[in-house]
Amino acid sequence: MPAILIRRLATAIPTLFAVVLLSFLLMRVAPGSPFDSERPLDPAIRAAMERAYGLDQPLPVQLGRYLANIATGDFGPSLVYKDFTVSKLIAQGLPVSLQLGGLALLLAALLGVGGGIAGALRPGGWIDRSVSVASSLAVALPSFVTGPVLALVFALWLAWLPVSGLGGPSSLVLPVIALALPVAGAVARLTRTGLAAALAQDHVRTARARGIAPVRVIVRHALPPALIPVVSYLGPAAAGLLTGAVVIETVFGLPGLGRYFVQGALNRDYPLVMGVVILYAGLILLFNLIADLLYGWLDPRVRG
């Protein structure tokens, strides 16, 4: 356990560095600048602004400066949202995204694993077939379809929940459901397939021969190995959910992190994009580490 942690941290630092380097260079290679707008800017003013933000320096110098700054935790100022630092923007958007993504993740895992187990209890039964159809549908429908449809039905027609904006727990219900559905569908399918394979294994027959009740056989003996593909899928998916779902945030008017990412990229707001990319990469590394630790718990053989 400590060995894997140390090894993972040792590889995480060069990985993060490579991500920073690549995204820094890619952003600069892309045409356009943060100061482009409808009206052409006076060259003198443009030069002054570039000097103020250090963009007139050669690229290696800019990169060196940026690396030195992030090492001290300073992600720089936003070039577009004047008077805001990148850290401040992330601090505003991240809690909303974390709430939305965390709840969606929880709901997706519960619905998906629960649905998968319910299907596996009676293979080919009506529950199994309904779960299979529902999960295919959930995976196939993009969230820019389910989001507006949910808003239309539950907010506009039935008026049970608010249409958009952030205000109290009720405003999160629809976005969380819309965000969770495709993930829940994928988890249900992975769980069901994994369980079908696990239930055919010898140790499950041994457990049945011991006179253990069917539900307990599934949950205790068959489920852990069946969850390994689910964990591999949920690791990166969790990082994506938590760092902001652009479409859902836009449809439901939530001030999360996703829109900063998109707007930052469109506006060439270099520091903002870099900040969000580093956060995203860090979360990916973190969730992959958690997934690896979970593998060891689900199947002690991988611990060696």
Binding site: D202, H203, A209, R210, P214, R220, R301
Partner: protein, 513 residues
Amino acid sequence: MTLYAVEHLSLEIGGARILEDVGFAVAAGGCTALVGASGSGKTMSCFAPFGLAAGRPRGSARLEGAELIGLDERALRPLRARAGFVFQQPLTALTPHLTIGAQLAESASALGGARPDRRAMAAMLDRVGLSDPEAKLDQWPHRLSGGERQRVMIACATAHGPRLLVADEPTSALDAELRHAILDVIGRLREDGLGVLLVSHDLPLVARHADRVVVMDAGRVVEDGPARAVIETPAQEVTRALIAASPRLDSPPPDLPVPGAPLIEARGIAVGFRTPGWRRGRFQAVADAGFALAEGEALAIVGRSGSGKSTLARAVARLGPCDSGAVLWRGRPLPPRARMGTAERRLIQPVFQDPAASLDPRWTVAQSIAEPLRNLIPAMDDAARAARVGAVLDEVELGERFAARRPGELSGGQAQRVAIARALAADPEAILLDEATSALDVLVAGRILALLGRLQASRRLAILAITHDLAVAHALCHRLAVMEAGRIVEIGPVPQLLASPQSAALTRLVAAQ
């Protein structure tokens, strides 16, 4: 006193008759053995009444007077708890993510029994002959050897105090020494009145441990009687065939071809592996081992599981790692595999234990056999290749009608013949048999051994046979090398070594036969 009685048991699956009018009984404290070739219905007869096999049987099966047939899963579960079950594959039959202690506690308390404390569980492990039982409670199954896992299986199967133990080939995945040790453990449990239903195709083993033998063939019982009487004076042809096929060390030595010029010489072979885990270490699997093999000669490497026999043979055949030592082929050094040319790769071809696993399930038999030809003799054209495939299929007595089949359509013995044909296709000078008959039942294994003997004579093929079964060595090989803890402790002509074993390892193996 009859503990478990099966009468008029029949079973149909998808219109095919699997069992017909099967009947047998197990006495309290007795051991009834079901024997027969694979596919004769012995496993089904054991598990179908308990709802642990496909299909719904008809007839009657009464355990302590309670009828099992015709009950649904809910009603059957409490009755199932009056029996304990041990399965064939110790490697896969335990849940990998639960510790031994957790599984033992669960077995003991599955149907409302009290959860045993650690001391009681350690006592259960001690009873089945596991060393250091207290520490084993916290281990996961994959940390234990095959024999240890099978002991854990028996402990779990008897933890809740069942009246009947059903054991399906409990020892056929284990080496000869372990077989008797495991059955001795089961024998001791019988002293407390436990009845045992044992499934086996190993007649010498059954003769020593069972008191009643039921012979099955094609889903029917053909003979039933006291073990000694059935084995010494078999009344039925099926039983006589089973007994004749069981390899025996006291049968006259076979007529083996005279060895020719020296072919392989291995000297000072050493192979080590890194041990996994937090504390790294090295495990010396083979140390300073060497042997010679001549044209047309067969050498058996025997030893218990983990003694390094496969590692040595694979190092010599350049199929596995080899840290140091030299292999000479007709006096010339054989390079490591990466630097071998096609001519050198052709020299020795392997046949592995599990034929089903060593053939690609999506390929036809012809494709599998043609593959070494494609790689090792690239100049051969399609017509010549097809002709060669047909010829080797004839050589292994299958014939060309098998060419278009896939492994799923073959029996175990047929699949092993295909694997042998594949090994022979490119005309090797030697073949490596890695437990090539131990996954097959006695009748099939006997026929494969006979085939190998004929090929040895007709092709003047050198054979390196890895086995834990001395009878295989006796039937096929000129010389015997005995391995223990990575070293060759004894090497010499088979009859001589079997008559007067010098090493402790060989003495144990001979005694276990």
